[in-house]
Assembly symmetry: C2
């Protein structure tokens, strides 16, 4: 391993909550959240309730979470669900990543205290939640010029 990699320190994160979804097995999860209409519930642990202040005024939120059942794969080339060819893991959203961190945008339907009812979930039931951020079109909507292998696949 390179000296740069070895010299880097690890970072430790502790979940702020859990995501409850209808998907108990990996085979049941939708391929991407934009294709999911599934309902889920985010349970934020009580010590973080104050951090949710005002979140009910947002219709879309970003979830950062752990692919906690991702296999410890060392393969950096993967065959995503949407294609039959192998691609570099960083050119895909596949879950067997060097750092198994997931990213999804969900619709926020309702907040009841520390419980958030959401739509569009695509992750496994019991997924550990690391962060919630507001989805803000001014920051998050971009026009792309090149879409790589997704260009042929994204609308199939």
């Amino acid at each position: 391993m390179s000296a740069e990699f070895l010299n880097m320190r690890n970072f430790e994160f502790k979940p702020i909550g859990v995501i409850h979804t209808p998907f108990k097995e990996k085979s049941e999860t939708p391929i991407q959240f934009s294709r999911s209409t599934a309902l889920g519930e985010i349970e934020v642990f009580p010590e973080f309730e104050e951090g949710l202040t005002g979140i009910e005024e947002l219709s879309h939120i970003i979830l950062i979470y752990v692919f906690h059942e991702a296999l410890n794969s060392n393969s950096l080339l993967v065959k995503p669900f949407l294609d039959e060819k192998k691609h570099g893991i960083f050119a895909t959203r596949y879950y067997t990543r060097p750092n198994p961190i997931g990213f999804s945008v969900v619709k926020l339907i309702e907040r009841n205290g520390t419980r958030l009812q959401v739509e569009w979930v695509d992750m496994l039931d019991g997924t550990p939640l690391l962060d919630i951020k507001p989805y803000v079109p001014e920051f998050d909507v971009h026009k792309v010029d090149k879409l790589g292998w997704y260009a042929a696949r994204a609308h199939k």
Copy 2:
């Protein structure tokens, strides 16, 4: 602390690279990446080079990284740069988060092996990089109905 929080296990991540930017001090970083035209360079460690296969065919990529100089703040209510009122941390993009994980979309200009030249950087020089994902409009572009406190602020 709640039993649920205490029972959750920690997750450890090791950076896959470093983000080089013109910003040496927190006071110099742009408020949000959509307002930044700064150029930066992503240095991916050599052991992950294969994972970049095909990434040069994408014009926009998502970076997941560590706010490594975030103060260890326990405050869950923060006053973001764009407003003068306090908001729940999860309703803002502020960096003093329970898990200091950052998320930015950047334009990929050029790839030279493990070096990616990018535009729109907004993070500190030397930021530890945890993951790179393709930005895919089909998954990542959404129309919002409610924007909370950003509604008044986002376009100022």
